[in-house]
Symmetry: C3
Subunit: 267 residues, 3 copies
């Protein structure tokens, strides 16, 4: 099937299924994540008590793990949630926020990678370089490290970890071992709003909960945020822009996506 | 006193007392809850460290417990806070978010119900059915389960638990053992914003902290959100709608409430 | 150097350095704090797992500690983070939210004061009176306690604690032991939005991470919020006002600050 037909179908399935997306995520951007999941037509739930993970994950269509403000307790809940999701064939998305910043984040992420089969891992260049074992120039949770070897890193990591890798930055790269795309939407104003990365990962959760197609979902989640960033009014300031972003995600559909998406297949 | 006179008086007391509403609530919608409590003219405080519950609750005029992202630690804090509130005759509101979803939520809620005398319990149909011991069709924290036995469930639960039960849905039902109302305001767009239920519970906390009248407070808290949902501009998208909701709550008063409220006494 | 020249320079340094501001803060206002730090041109990070504090703080240019929803676990993380910051000469800002409300808050704040050398402590009048050991009329986290001895309290506290004290209220007072200013910007509408105090402290973190000048940073952080409160549109309601506040902070710069700031040197 052509990518165009698959995109159109993905939005149809999303509308029909209204997937429940369970998040164990950070408390900084959690409200925006819940609202973008609603905006795209999915249903969010946030819960992190380990003793309820088995039942809660079982109700969900997708699981999103985000280590932005993780602690020992919530990492344990993530490990439990991920193993339940794997056992029940529920797709799992990882957002390894700031993984290069501390030993705790590196080791926690390694535990997650060892224990859980992820469908999609989305992060910025520095985070992906850390996962790939390459030296990253990290400045906390943000990354301005750019270069021309992004496709190699993404492809290597996809092969090594056996899942879809989505590296967001000036250009976005989405690969699995045998297929790779670059995405060319977006606006630099997105850097001025906290949580656009977290929200992209949440959107991927919505799409993959509907379609069970990790590659397509990574493309659509990232492109939804990027295209909203192009369309949303930036003239009134950064908080108005954030509101306009979520408003715009609320009107995203297959036709608008097909009209706007700029995607190039690398292999 | 007629309901009209009581509504007018409630807003006057609220304006005069500026009640302090203590919340132990979820981290998804907490900022919106704080802002609607301010918008209605009350004063919010959020705190969940068990060792400060005795003093913090003692300062408050109402306590709102919301289990949306509860964990073992915060449930312990809720139990402590509730018992202090009861001892000091401070009204307590419960929002049993997603109670049917997991054993942890059911058992934690049962512990809260066993230990604390609540003034108002507000939830959606599925949550109320779970509390009533009936089988609920739950999909995480949201509920689209509708039917025509809502009044029976609400009334039974009010009798069983000895407090005001507020079941929100297509029509809202507010009952205590001897009195029951249906409320007919609202807009389906409210489903597209995360936290409108949590915010309604927070608003009930504001009203009951001022009036100490649980039935009236449940009616006013729910109607404030529902009427704001009718008035607030929906044309710009869901995030703009959320902002307009809180803006509208900020101008709610007795006259506007009396002009807009659609309430029917069942018994 | 004159204050005018210092203000202009501060914004230039901020723009050049883009300081990373690490927060251990409350979950009520955390998203707004992250967005104002971005709006002013700094970079926010929020993390509270004790075992990553040493590395995370080491990456930061400033640390902001806010006890709004602190618990035993996060106070331990604050103690660790503060001691690392002190060892590395990274400035630390304290926001002792509601310190007078409970023994837990008083004792936790005392532990922080005993262990950490702060650059700036910002709070409302009741919080500062509590720190000064004077009786405060506290109503939870908000304070409407006004009087004419604010300068004395602020100056005494600055001498006692050996750091810059910023007491916000109807007039804002910023002192260290040998220098004291009153600030006369602001709008009473700021009281209607949750988190304007927290956001001011976060902004101070941004400025002090850039300039390492605590007195100037306290003046600029507070004045940024106060001037935004004057400029931002209040006609549409309190949620729109909050959005406009952050939009306005996003266009704050040295020229606008110098045009608007109303500052008076007391000694």
């Amino acid at each position: 099937m052509q990518i165009e037909a698959k995109i159109k179908e993905a939005f149809e399935i999303l509308e029909k299924r209204v997937p429940l997306v369970h998040h164990i995520t950070n408390y900084v951007t959690v409200n925006d994540c819940a609202n973008v999941v609603l905006a795209i037509g999915a249903s969010p739930i946030m819960a992190d008590e380990e003793s309820e993970m088995e039942e809660m994950v079982s109700l969900a269509d997708a699981l999103v793990l985000n280590i932005g403000t993780a602690n020992e307790r919530t990492i344990a809940s993530m490990l439990k949630a991920g193993s339940v999701a794997n056992a029940k064939n529920i797709p799992v998305v990882l957002d390894p926020v700031g993984v290069g910043a501390t030993t705790f984040r590196r080791e926690s992420t390694q535990k997650l990678l060892d224990a859980i089969a992820f469908s999609v891992i989305r992060g910025n260049r520095a985070e992906m370089k850390t996962l790939a074992g390459r030296e990253a120039k990290s400045s906390g949770v943000d990354s301005r490290d750019e270069g021309d070897d992004g496709i190699n890193i993404t492809q290597d990591l996809a092969q090594k970890l056996g899942c879809v890798i989505a590296m967001t930055g000036k250009e976005d790269i989405v690969c699995h071992a045998k297929e790779c795309y670059t995405l060319h939407n977006g606006d630099k104003a997105l850097q001025n709003v906290t949580g656009t990365g977290c929200m992209s990962s949440a959107l991927i959760g919505g799409f993959v909960g509907a379609t069970h197609d990790p590659l397509l979902s990574a493309i659509l989640g990232i492109s939804t945020m990027a295209i909203a960033g192009e369309i949303a009014d930036k003239s009134k300031g950064i908080s108005s822009f954030k509101m306009a972003l979520i408003d715009t995600i609320g009107v995203m559909n297959g036709s608008l996506m097909l009209e706007k998406i700029e995607i190039k297949q690398i292999f």
